[in-house]
């Protein structure tokens, strides 16, 4: 904020104006931070129960201590908590590894397939583990699992869809355009309601997916359409001459896509991809409308316990911090990746 750069021609007047603006911004930030610190630390209650917290002005830390378990894991059985914890650690590590270009390759794709299957298996149990009904899943692992599963499905599907939209085969192109436009013209909550209420009717008798699986399938299909449009944006920046040159060299379509088109196209749309991924992480909170206890909904439900009634600020700020950490991490990563790929 302080490190403004002024063009040399702006002169002293602009310099002073910039300085004043900077100072004002700093003062404003400090004021907000002071209020926040006052609420979070100085006036806060660190031990006691609801009555102690009510009597004080500041934040109620004992509420967070008591509700941490519920906000993060919702109804998951307490004696099985290592499983969702393992899922969180596993998925975050998988994302961390995927973030480094040096690991990009077929091995990583296999790793994602295996990792997601293991995460779903670990959450639901069976094979020696106590089965846990999907109804009891909730909190951070559900938010992350849905996000990762949907991105894991949507990313390859979106590339195929974007290629189909550019294809010379008319039928394929029309189908792809139809799919993308229908999905993009439908609000996500309508998609969720469809998953919740209509989808079960379309399945054969006896085939019943649980609510979270149905929602995951439908949201993955939904985001595939958005992602496909971002990928298409990248594809359109590649001059047709490149494809023609590849064809002239006798390179087949799929190898051409893999070696020539995609590496350049995807690199151009990294900001768009990350932006969409972040938007999607935040959109998982819409699952609350079909009664899934994702992170945000679990925090909201935590404030309804008569023993700890109504500490909305604490609950919402806590999950806001988690969402912020994930999203800010994502956007910094995208900046770093762009710079690195531009260099390489």
């Amino acid at each position: 904020m302080i490190g403004f750069k002024f063009r040399s021609g702006d002169g002293l007047r602009a310099d002073l104006r910039g300085l004043a603006l900077s100072l004002a911004a700093v003062v404003l930030c400090l004021l907000v931070l002071r209020e926040l610190a006052d609420w979070l630390l100085v006036q806060a209650t660190f031990a006691g129960d609801m009555a102690t917290c009510r009597a004080a002005e500041g934040a109620c830390w004992p509420f967070l201590v008591a509700k941490l378990r519920f906000i993060l894991f919702a109804f998951y059985p307490t004696d099985q908590l290592w499983r969702p914890i393992a899922v969180i650690v596993g998925l975050l590590s998988l994302m961390g590894v995927s973030a480094l270009p040096r690991f990009w390759g077929k091995g990583l794709l296999a790793g994602w397939g295996f990792g997601l299957a293991a995460a779903w298996g670990l959450m639901s149990g069976g094979v020696g583990l106590v089965p846990v009904s999907v109804n009891d899943w909730g909190g951070l692992p559900v938010t992350l699992l849905l996000w990762a599963s949907c991105m894991g499905f949507a990313f390859p599907a979106a590339i195929l869809l974007a290629l189909a939209r550019q294809s010379r085969m008319g039928g394929l192109r029309v189908l792809s355009v139809l799919y993308i436009e229908v999905m993009r013209a439908t609000p996500m909550v309508a998609i969720l309601y469809f998953a919740m209420l209509i989808l079960p009717l379309g399945l054969p008798e006896g085939v019943i997916f649980d609510k979270i699986t149905r929602a995951a399938i439908m949201t993955a299909l939904f985001f595939t359409a958005y992602l496909a449009e971002v990928v298409r944006g990248g594809l359109q920046t590649i001059p047709p001459g490149q494809a023609e040159a590849a064809a002239a060299l006798g390179i087949g379509y799929w190898r051409m896509v893999q070696l020539v088109i995609l590496p350049q196209a995807l690199q151009k749309v990294i900001p768009g991809l990350v932006n969409l991924a972040i938007g999607f992480l935040l959109a998982t909170s819409l699952l609350a409308v079909i009664g899934v206890f994702d992170l945000l909904n679990a925090a909201k439900a935590a404030t309804t316990d008569p023993l700890w009634l109504g500490f909305h600020d604490e609950a919402y700020l806590f999950v806001a911090a988690i969402y912020f950490a994930l999203c800010f991490g994502g956007s910094r990563y995208s900046l770093w990746l762009e710079r690195r790929l531009a260099r390489g």
């Binding site: 009510r54 008591a66 509700k67 378990r69 519920f70 894991f73 919702a74 109804f75 998951y76 059985p77 307490t78 009904s133 109804n135 009891d136 609000p187 996500m188 909550v189 309508a190 309601y193 469809f194 919740m196 209420l197 209509i198 079960p200 009717l201 609510k211 958005y226 969409l276 938007g279 935040l282 959109a283 909170s285 819409l286 609350a288 409308v289 079909i290 009664g291 206890f293 909201k300 439900a301 935590a302 404030t303 309804t304 316990d305 008569p306 023993l307 700890w308 009634l309 109504g310 909305h312 919402y316």
Partner: protein, 343 residues
């Protein structure tokens, strides 16, 4: 794409989606008797909501509350154990379509009994277990003792509910002026009241009592005595399964009858030696009654022993929030709770 915008668009289509689902679903409703399905599955699926005192998760991630205890009572009646029940939270817009789609065996989410729901939408209702009604929570410094004295007040109402219509009707009747402010969310209601943006808020009394507890200075506010609407809250099931309905009915009646007889979870064992034939049938000492229902002869005993009678359930869940019994009192004590005879 902005999440907020998606949400707004969605809110508009949401009502339409629910209506479509409600119209399409009845033709697909399962024909099999609910009880057989439940026994085969080994668990009762219950739809609930989230309102302090009625249904809320505790710190260990277990559901607690007034309606939750009735879910446990049903589980005891059918399986003899309070844990063979799966609670799923469901929003007011989707709970009835979800019940119809077979997601739940019974809704214990505070559904108001109405004639439309009974005939047009095809639901059956058990006995009312909580008599609720729309009420007004006002600032004390307005100096009003009753809602009819409110004039020119700014009143917060929840958007998209019948509460908006009820309050408008009420003020049309009293002939006084008021200005409504629509509010979306629990925490917003509290903020609006505390910041003075509204003079009063109106919601069902079951919601308001929980809110009163959350205000920084609860003593500065008063719950006005009027009830602007009748909201009898009852268990709901899909129409067409009489036997399941009777099990729901008599599970509720058992808790009411037990309170009338003074049978509690603590003293229920002393009643096992009672000479009263009605009590003997009730507690399964005389098993003739249970044979007809097809339940364990000790079903009512088990319910009372584990979750207690109506009064105990009420005291445990709602009294800590400052609830008084009001209409939810035995008929012998001036309330509306009345169980048909166990004979």
């Amino acid at each position: 794409m902005s999440t907020l915008q998606t949400f707004r668009n969605a809110a508009r289509t949401l009502a339409a989606a629910a209506a479509v689902a409600a119209a399409v679903l009845p033709t697909f409703a399962s024909a099999g008797p609910t009880l057989d399905r439940i026994k085969e599955r080994g668990v009762i699926k219950v739809g609930v909501g989230t309102t302090p005192g009625f249904f809320a998760p505790d710190s260990a991630g277990k559901w607690q509350g007034f309606f939750i205890d009735y879910g446990r009572a049903l589980s005891i009646a059918v399986f003899g154990s309070p844990d063979k029940v799966e609670f799923t939270s469901s929003s007011p817009q989707q709970r009835l379509p979800a019940l119809q789609a077979g997601e739940f065996d019974v809704l214990l989410s505070g559904v108001t009994v109405t004639i439309t729901r009974a005939f047009k939408l095809g639901f059956h209702f058990g006995p009312t277990i909580f008599y609720d009604g729309q009420a007004i929570l006002a600032r004390k410094d307005l100096g009003v003792k009753s809602a009819s004295e409110l004039d020119g007040a700014t009143i917060g109402v929840q958007s998209g509910t019948t509460g908006e219509l009820n309050i408008a009707d009420f003020f049309r009747k009293t002939g006084k002026a008021f200005s409504p402010v629509t509010i979306e969310d629990t925490s917003e209601f509290l903020a609006a009241l505390e910041s003075g943006r509204v003079d009063a808020i109106t919601q069902d009394s079951s919601d308001l009592v929980g809110k009163l507890q959350q205000l920084k200075k609860p003593d500065d506010y008063v719950l006005l005595p009027e009830r602007l609407s009748k909201e009898p809250l009852a268990p709901a099931i899909v129409a067409g399964d009489d036997r399941w309905l009777e099990i729901v009915n008599w599970t509720v009646y058992a808790t009411i009858q037990a309170e009338e007889w003074g049978i509690t979870s603590k003293n229920v064992d002393t009643f096992l030696t009672s000479q009263d034939p009605a009590i003997q049938r009730f507690l399964g000492v005389d098993p003739s009654l249970a044979q007809d229902i097809g339940l364990d002869p000790k079903w009512a005993y088990n319910i009372i022993k584990t979750v207690g009678n109506y009064g105990e359930i009420y005291e445990r869940n709602l009294a800590p929030l400052g609830w008084e019994r009001g209409y939810n009192q035995l008929w012998t004590k001036g309330g509306l709770l009345y169980a048909p005879p166990f004979r």
